[in-house]
């Protein structure tokens, strides 16, 4: 199943990823789903992974801590500090992974229109190392190198 059109991922600069997604709900609910542990536990993480630890101190300077557990029992921890919180419009937090060096800054903006909410999340990598760590973990899944996929790749990169 192709999900382009739902989730859009672009790279305006070599250290930024911008993700855009529309949700069929008012932003008050979407913001809650992104900031309340009891709600995050229902959805956060790739397929097959579950959020086993989710602690959030939702205030500027407050710390958040997540641990995801994979199907093979492997755990992945992440944490950071909140820099800005303006419910239900905007939040800025830092993010780092237990197993990788460095930190990125995530700015989430929620815009509501006609009962639907558009989330724009900008991930800014502070260092080359963290960006590369993320790239490498993505590449573990193996990217297809066939020419058939080129058009699709170009679409992914250059939207």
């Amino acid at each position: 199943m192709k999900n382009t059109g739902t989730l859009k991922v672009t790279t305006p600069t070599s250290r930024e990823i911008v993700m855009t997604r529309v949700f069929d709900a008012p932003r008050r609910l979407v913001f809650d789903a992104f900031s309340k542990p009891e709600l995050l536990k229902h959805w956060f993480g790739p397929r097959g992974w579950s959020l086993v630890v989710c602690e959030i101190d939702l205030k500027v300077g407050g710390v958040w801590r997540f641990v995801l557990r994979g199907p093979d029992g492997k755990e992945m921890g992440m944490r950071g500090v909140y820099r800005e919180i303006a419910p239900p419009e905007r939040s800025v937090h830092m993010e780092s992974f237990d197993d990788y060096p460095g930190e990125s800054q995530v700015t989430a903006v929620f815009v509501e229109h006609g009962g639907k909410t558009t989330l724009t999340a900008t991930v800014l990598y502070a260092s080359q190392e963290i960006r590369d760590a993320v790239i490498n973990s993505g590449m573990e899944h193996g990217a297809a190198e066939s020419y058939d996929k080129l058009a699709e790749m170009l679409e992914v990169i250059t939207v």
């Binding site: 989730l7 990823i17 809650d32 789903a33 993320v134 590449m139 990217a143 080129l150 170009l154 992914v156």
Partner: protein, 124 residues
Amino acid sequence: MTASQRLDATFAALADPTRRAILARLASGDAPVAELAKPFAMSQPAISKHLKVLERAGLISRGRDAQRRPRRIEAKPLAGASGWLEGYRRFWEGSFQRLDALLDEMKTQEKKACARSARGEKHR
């Protein structure tokens, strides 16, 4: 070049709309410089500059035919950049599909709560 320098070169090369258009054209088959220049209101030397950037980033190569020197798209560096984005996309798309379901449930709960309080007010 390290993997990280390669990605920098790939993203820098892809940052320009003319170069993206050239790659999109080459994705459907090899083409000589003159043909690649055609759709653009640009001199052939200007196009050649773009081709040099793409070539340095390893995104295109030159074909064997010495006369025409057709340019060819190279899949590998593109796969590196898109592999990164694909991993990222997979993480979030999986999450967001579950979030869609949760939001539907939250909306339903809210409507029920609303209906309950409306009924409550009537009884008062």
